[in-house]
């Protein structure tokens, strides 16, 4: 073995070790996070926590039922805003988008993706809180919906692009108009991927706190309607975590565990949807 060969092997071993270390760090951070939250939260999660309203300060017990329902309502509105816009925009970009307009749409989506979430919150505040003179579920949901748009749009586009052109040609050659081709061939072939992408974008915004601070605001009771402020898990966790009471801290951990479980569940569901599609349903 020459000195050159020896050196080559050493470098290879070193590089391999470096990549392994990076991979292990990623995995380690995730498991540390999951484990620590589970350990801290598990002791405080109970049936009462999931079904009761927050207790008044100084009184033990109570739960976050209103925050769980509130997060659900916020995500519903977010979905109503983010899914249609993201989905249809993605279809446009993949199937029709050419030239400067498509370029601007794509660029805008990427920029929007990078806009700090607090700024999105301010925007929703100006658009929906100031005119109604109320913090509201609606404003919070719209803020989250705006955050969903870039991710759901780009994932929809990516999955539609993965549909081979040969399928589009097959349909066109059978005398199907362009839109029929898109609706009956292209979208069904990419549906699972699109669904998974939308689920992931919902999971992503489910944990957002900043856009909700001055839109949905917070509420220690059941929200009285879509135009009234509502509690949400992330904001509740934030409020409880910075409070000076030990009891609240434990509840914050419990809330974090619930939120994490929901987000993780959505992620796993998305993976399952994606895996069962077997790479767009084409075996070759």
């Amino acid at each position: 073995m020459t000195a050159h060969d020896l050196r080559r092997r050493q470098v290879e071993r070193l590089m391999f070790a470096a990549t392994m270390l990076a991979a292990a760090t990623t995995l380690g951070v995730l498991f540390f996070l999951l484990g620590y939250i589970a350990w801290q939260g598990a002791t405080s999660v109970s049936w009462a926590f999931l079904t009761r309203l927050p207790a008044p300060v100084g009184e033990p017990g109570g739960g976050m039922a209103n925050a769980i329902v509130g997060s659900g309502k916020l995500l519903l509105i977010a979905g109503l805003v983010g899914i249609p816009v993201g989905f249809l925009g993605g279809v446009y970009l993949s199937e029709y988008g050419r030239g400067p307009i498509a370029f601007s749409v794509r660029y805008a989506a990427d920029v929007l993706n990078g806009v700090p979430s607090i700024v999105i919150g301010v925007t929703a505040y100006a658009l929906l809180v100031v005119p109604f003179k109320h913090f509201s579920t609606l404003a919070g949901g719209v803020a989250l919906g705006l955050m969903m748009i870039p991710v759901s749009l780009r994932t929809t586009e990516e999955f539609l692009r993965m549909v081979p052109d040969s399928l589009r040609e097959a349909s066109l050659a059978l005398g199907a108009p362009r839109w029929v081709t898109i609706v009956r061939v292209v979208i069904p072939a990419a549906m699972r991927g699109i669904l998974a992408g939308i689920l992931l974008s919902l999971a992503r915004v489910a944990g957002e706190t900043a856009p909700l601070l001055f839109t949905a605001f917070g509420n220690r009771f059941w929200s009285e309607g879509w135009l009234q402020p509502t509690a949400s898990l992330p904001v509740m966790i934030f409020t409880y975590a910075i409070a000076p009471y030990d009891d609240w801290h434990r509840q914050a951990w419990a809330g974090a565990l619930v939120l994490l479980t929901l987000v993780l569940g959505a992620n796993i569901l998305a993976r399952m949807v994606l895996v069962r599609s077997g790479g767009l349903g084409r075996s070759s």
Binding site: S166, L172, A173, L174, G281
Partner: protein, 263 residues
Amino acid sequence: MDATAPAPGSDVIPAKLSVQALKVSYGDAVALSDVNLEIPEHHVTAFIGPSGCGKSTFLRCLNRMNDHIPGVRIEGRVRLDGEDIYEPRVDPVALRRRVGMVFQKSNPFPKSIFDNVAFGPRVHGCKDPVQLRELVERSLRQAALWEEVQDRLDGSALDLSGGQQQRLCIARALAVEPDVLLMDEPASALDPIATAKIEELIQELKTHYTIAIVTHNMQQAARVSDYTAYFYLGRLIEFGPTDQLFTNPSRPETEDYITGRFG
């Protein structure tokens, strides 16, 4: 290079498709120029030539599939039953119902066998389930696939073998009931047995359809076609009855190619 070569005997056999002074370019690159030829009805016409000679581009002009390629420019005339298919009032969607196409790589939809064949008729408004079943069965029989798939019409088309998938694509094209069937190297990705089946099928189909087939396999052209056109570097070099072109080509370039001196 004068490439004008009407099909000998075309005065007896009516031309289904007639092409005049066809020129196709992508931006500045000319893919085809000065192509004149007539495709006779109820016969098989083969287009041969080395890779990149424009034979596929030519085929795709016949059902306007090139329209979807950005930057393409098509000049000249292509007449189907005497009517110019590039006239502005001709709807390419309606044209493709009359001129079907089978592609090089089989491209079944990720749907059931039945839904693949029923796709075209459904798109064109056929909703009656009885009629659809009949049409699907007839098309699969015509494509010599019925016996193999009749028990699993609801199974995924992607579970079929490569040769079966290609025959499914032929059945799918036939279900639209076109006049002309264009085939772009339909057997190039298949094993010899599957290829033989497709070739046999082409022979049976020509009684009802006018068939134009691109192939880079000269033996295949000799076996299946009645007329052969030889393309080279974007030009039509020679066009005539297949046996004549293969045994007694009139141009030296053709002879070089079919004797294997190049290509």
